[in-house]
């Protein structure tokens, strides 16, 4: 065996060892198991079809903002009074996803997919995807996760109500209402359930807890109307976004027709 062959085996063994070290720490939870039963899905409520959100908050209460979140909210309101055309900057102005929680409220359809141990939520706008694990896996520790757009969701079924807790969304995402954004400490509880009398009406009750933003938990409720006839339609925001933003996040007239 020559020297190059020995070196090759040496580096390959390091690579394999490190890979297996990572793999050894992984646990296979039921949602990813090789053998699963789909039979339990028959016991879940029928959420098939597309769900179109009602416009705005239908119930709950008003947020009690604190600290910097209150200052930012007030500064936006002052700007709006001074200039009715002022636009509160949002990530979607630049085709970036809203992330959680506004993924649930964007004015396009939601689709829920049930698979063993997991509920997948697809938001039509920007084709955003959110995964809610219902297979009993533990919630990660907030200080140890990579804060991201959609956070980390764990759920369980309480009769026909899906109860979800979510942590780990990156700071600065829209907290339902334009001008209010979350901190890294946001913990959200959702309860999703069909209306008792109208099975084509879905309720979503949010509870937001974020000590850096809210003086007390903020309860917000939404509803969605079912449509069984449409499919979701492709939405690639980067396909033809012609609106640039100025330094203050205000949308500009497209350059090719700007006066």
């Amino acid at each position: 065996m020559n020297r190059f062959a020995i070196l090759h085996i040496f580096f390959l063994s390091i690579l394999l060892t490190s890979t297996s070290t990572i793999a050894q720490d992984d646990v296979i939870y039921p949602a990813n198991a090789a053998i699963v039963s789909y039979a339990d899905l028959d016991n879940l409520p029928d959420w098939r079809g597309l769900w179109f959100p009602s416009f705005g908050q239908v119930g709950g209460d008003e947020p009690k903002l604190v600290g910097e979140a209150l200052n930012i909210w007030q500064s936006h309101q002052i700007r709006l009074r001074e200039d009715p055309n002022y636009e509160i900057p949002e990530t979607t102005d630049n085709c970036e996803p809203d992330g959680f929680p506004y993924i649930m409220n964007f004015p396009y359809s939601l689709e829920f997919l049930f698979t063993p141990g997991k509920v997948t939520v697809i938001q039509e706008a920007l084709m955003q995807v959110r995964r809610i694990f219902t297979d009993g896996r533990p919630m990660p520790v907030v200080d140890e996760v990579d804060q991201n757009y959609f956070g980390y969701s764990r759920g369980y079924w309480e009769d026909d109500t899906l109860v979800v807790r979510t942590i780990g969304t990156q700071p600065g995402q829209r907290l339902v209402r334009a001008g209010i954004t979350n901190s890294k400490n946001l913990v959200t509880t959702e309860r999703l359930y069909l209306d008792d009398k109208n099975k084509d009406l879905l309720h979503l009750d949010f509870t937001f807890e974020d000590s850096d933003v809210l003086a007390e938990p903020w309860h917000v409720t939404y509803t969605y109307r079912r449509d069984r006839t449409w499919e979701q339609i492709e939405y690639i925001c980067a396909q033809n976004n012609q609106h640039a933003l100025d330094a203050e996040g205000q949308t500009l007239v497209p350059e090719n027709i700007r006066k």
Partner: protein, 140 residues
């Protein structure tokens, strides 16, 4: 047809206000004004996040000014019964738009009269124009 009418109407109701808040605000448009213009379709962009129809409009001294009409997304338009085949390059069309506040030649779609004389309208107040002008009284 009744079923389609009902379906489109319900979806219009559901989408009427939220569509104005998708993707970006409409603060750049002067929504207190409406501007009408007639010209020939020069380009059709059936895309997301917005559908665009470019129209060459006669200007001063036999010049042509290209106006850009900005619609909502093709997702919303598809659900409202619009399609890219409504327009062909070279069609003479009349648009009504909420103009850009800075005077740029273009604006947010309000209604359009197509080459065949039919009207298609945005949700909300523009619907009255379609109801008054389309003989079959269908929402479009």
């Amino acid at each position: 047809m009744r079923k389609l009418f009902s379906k489109v109407f319900l979806i219009l109701l559901a989408l009427a206000i939220p569509s104005a808040f998708a993707h970006h605000s409409f603060a750049m448009f002067d929504q207190t004004k409406k501007v009408e213009f007639t010209g020939k379709v020069s380009e059709i962009q059936w895309t997301n996040p917005h559908v665009w129809i470019m129209v060459d409009v006669p200007g001063e001294n036999e010049s042509l000014v290209t106006w850009g009409v900005e619609f909502t997304s093709k997702v919303h338009l598809t659900r409202r019964g619009f399609s890219p085949t409504m327009f062909s390059v070279g069609d003479e069309v009349t648009f009504s738009v909420s103009p850009y506040g800075d005077g740029s030649p273009g604006g947010r779609f309000f209604w359009v009269q197509l080459a065949d004389g039919s009207f298609y309208c945005d949700v909300g107040a523009a619907q009255r124009v379609c109801q008054e002008n389309n003989s079959r009284g269908e929402l479009r």
